[in-house]
Symmetry: C2
Subunit: 502 residues, 2 copies
């Protein structure tokens, strides 16, 4: 290895170690930290974040990057070292574009906005949040301008979460898909609804956790290199590929949050555990984008975890875990319960058919907000109109409407679309997996998940952040992101449940 | 506040934040970290340790210290700011004395020595460990010389753990106390032994933890600013005074490890929780020395937790927690069981009478080793002779003898004596507390611990690292460390149990 590349890796190693320590103490904050410790934990997080940022954005990083770039000249685009230089250079240039005064102002404004949002949320009063969101928006626009863009001011905002993805591409995909989804929702709403009372019985919490963990261990989650704990908001945090923490929450009278929550976080966790060790301590040892990350969580949660094939294998097991509740219940009733489609006001409760419509609505409002086409004060009205148009229902207040998500208060404008992109990617990738892995359906029906996991490992996980989402999709499926696979998947699955859908 | 002092505090704040993050991820390593994560955790610990050390020992710290010293000139010795400069300057000068090559060599040698010790311990073969211990000793002597000393080469080694304490002082105290302890052990060995079978029954682990935690909450441990978890080796780690983690282990067939282990760690934890918030993020927000820390743990574990008065209050409670085992057992039998004195080969299993003899033996060997009076190869023989002389029993192999502790392999020469110093301090402080707090005995008999805790807070805890052990002892008790109080305490307590002792 060249001397400069070695020096660069040494530096990135230090930064990675700080980042993984930061992830570790953030995890503790959400899981075990005593309530009185928040103040000093805040200092620790801020200090580690600052040290990492200072080391990364220092001139020396740039000098090393340039010198190391010369050393790796001629290496394959795909090689670890060429990719390291390419990706880290991109990160570095972006990070240097934001003046530290803007970063500081952003932190200040969003801290206040988050508090205002909480109050607004609890009192359902958008006016409390409005002036704060206006400030967040103004700074977001400043940020986008600091990053710079060619086509759309929203591009650099999307790029923060989904590197390389363009607003025009997402707009096109969403507008192709939207009418189909709206129509599917309409059709399903007219059919007899599924009864989901069987997943709303009394389920012992410890038994739920035990069953969930046993199942994700069968998926391939390696508990020697990870663990599961409880937290208020479920998440997955991979400090390194050898230390991946999943969290979940459990509701005694509802199976889904723990069960499908664990499947979901396990999908994220499998991705993190699968990054090749060569990439450790390089800043590339992570998922490549939020969308691709979400494609993995959604694949295990929904495409596998809510499939009939999977439950052929798993239903006898869950019946054994909860005999009093499920012993005499036909599998089909359970299957329909976990796949009930019902337009709802709250995104996080949405099913596979309606979910993406919640995202499209947010994407449309965000792109119009940042390009100055709509004003913050008009958001509640615009929100409610879109909900009615897409889902056929109406929020009765802003807490069930525009105030339901915390993201904007934290400056996360550009984030939402990755949820839907992940859904689309999951279907596009799975469609290919079905072609590549002969008998995949049969494997899953018999509880064999290593065929799928090995395929995902090889195609996606090992690469870490080496390739962008579209690069990965093209390498694996032969085309960039599209919505066709997802629409096929949804139509096929729910036609089977609700009768032929169009 | 002066500008330079403010800048110094800012810098120390950053270092404190790194140190508390380091403590947090070390805690996780001992409690929740998945087994496969050790390798990268090692990198994280090393990186944070290096960053903290680099920031602290940088020239800039010295420059700020000197400039800030001018700003605080004229302030009281006792004031926070004068103390800050005094203590941090001491730390800084010491840290700068060690060449980084020596630190690196030390890390390398002790890593290998630890592995060799493990093997030697499991095979009871001192010769496996001997060459490694010789290297550790040689480097320890180099380290002592780098620090420099006036009277005894052991002084700077002791000073690392017990700032300001001198070898001559400790030698004098130990040699005064030793013949009395040896005589007490002899006398007690001739009397009828206590029966401790009542604490070796089957005790449900969860019930042990519940009872232990309820009791330390009554002592005053604040679970809003701390928590208890399980680990193989119990410890207390205070990241900040608002986040103090105790760990314990539980044996189903033995009450003491969990119960008295928790009392012990709680004593450490109360100290950490009691440091005044003004000292937060200054490097002074910690216990002032290992000895003073141990005085707090031993006070709650032994002087309070193993006293008859305490059990007058607590015995009905533990009977209620374990009715099958204790309901019909007289308190006196229980009291004698938890206070059984019996010479044993293993330090960590020793009682209040024999414990200090284990330490004196180590102290004598350490001081002779570093001053070249004895050779490493002769340690097993010398060890066994001392054990027989002090305790009247003989190790049958080196695992029960010279190999029993891991400390030397980690370079912890100078550490052991602080355990005994802590015992002596605990008695010296408690003797004073009895004079200062009227009716202290009655308070404890009725389960009122806030009198003692408030006194400890005010006299010891709030000061953090502002004063050395001897400074604290003189302020509180009017004299520096002595062994008289401990001997009185031991004689009185065990005469009452075993009949008049001389």
């Amino acid at each position: 290895m060249g001397q400069k590349l070695a020096a660069l890796k040494e530096r990135l190693g230090t930064i990675s170690d700080i980042n993984s320590s930061l992830a570790m103490i953030s995890w503790d904050q959400e899981t075990y930290m005593p309530p009185g410790a928040a103040k000093f934990r805040g200092y620790q997080l801020a200090t580690l974040g600052r040290l990492s940022h200072e080391l990364f954005t220092a001139d020396e990083t740039g000098t090393l990057l340039d010198a190391a770039a010369k050393e790796v000249k001629g290496l394959d685009y795909d090689s670890d070292d060429a990719s390291l230089i390419r990706i880290v250079k991109r990160d570095y240039e972006l990070a240097r574009k934001l003046p530290s005064s803007l970063v500081a102002e952003f932190a200040q404004v969003t801290t206040a906005a988050k508090e205002a949002w909480k109050e607004a949320y609890h009192t359902s009063k958008f006016s409390t949040f409005q002036p704060h969101l206006e400030k967040v928006l103004a700074l977001t626009i400043k940020k986008a301008e600091a990053y710079g863009y060619k086509d759309h001011i929203y591009d650099p905002l999307l790029d923060e979460y989904e590197p390389g993805m363009k607003t025009a591409h997402v707009s096109k995909i969403f507008s192709d898909l939207k009418p189909h989804l709206v129509s599917l929702v309409e059709q399903i709403s007219e059919r007899a609804p599924s009864d989901d009372s069987c997943i709303h019985l009394d389920f012992d919490e410890q038994a739920q956790l035990k069953f969930g963990n046993e199942t994700i261990a069968e998926f391939g989650f390696d508990f020697k290199r990870g663990r599961q704990d409880l937290s208020h908001h479920p998440f997955c945090s991979g400090f390194t590929s050898d230390d991946v923490r999943l969290t979940t929450r459990v509701e005694r009278d509802f199976l889904s949050p723990c069960l499908f929550g664990l499947f979901h976080e396990c999908g994220h966790g499998l991705y993190e555990q699968g990054v090749r060790e060569n990439l450790a301590r390089t800043l590339l040892a992570d998922g490549t984008s939020l969308g691709v990350h979400e494609s993995q969580s959604r694949m295990w949660e929904n495409i596998v975890g809510r499939s009939r094939g999977f439950w052929k294998f798993c239903y006898p097991k869950i019946q054994k875990a909860f005999p009093a509740q499920l012993k005499s219940l036909p599998m089909e009733t359970f299957y329909r319960a976990i796949n009930r489609v019902k337009p709802s006001l709250i995104r996080v409760e949405a099913d596979e058919v309606t979910y993406n419509l919640h995202i499209m609505l947010r994407f449309e409002l965000e792109t119009q907000m940042v390009s100055g086409k709509i004003a913050v004060k008009d958001l509640p009205k615009l929100w409610n109109a879109k909900v009615e148009e897409y889902l056929g229902i109406k929020p009765s207040n802003d807490t069930e409407g525009v105030l339901q998500d915390i993201h904007w208060s934290m400056g996360g404008i550009g984030y939402f679309s990755t949820y839907a992109l992940g859904n689309l990617m999951s279907a596009q990738l799975y469609e290919r997996a079905q072609k590549d892995i002969s008998g995949l359906g049969k494997q899953i029906e018999s509880g064999k998940f290593d065929g799928l996991l090995s395929w995902l490992r090889k195609k996606i996980h090992v690469h870490g952040r080496k390739f962008t989402a579209n690069e990965l999709l093209e390498r694996v499926t032969g085309e960039p992101l599209q919505s066709r696979s997802y629409l096929n998947y949804i139509k096929t699955k729910f036609s089977d449940i609700y009768g032929e859908l169009d």
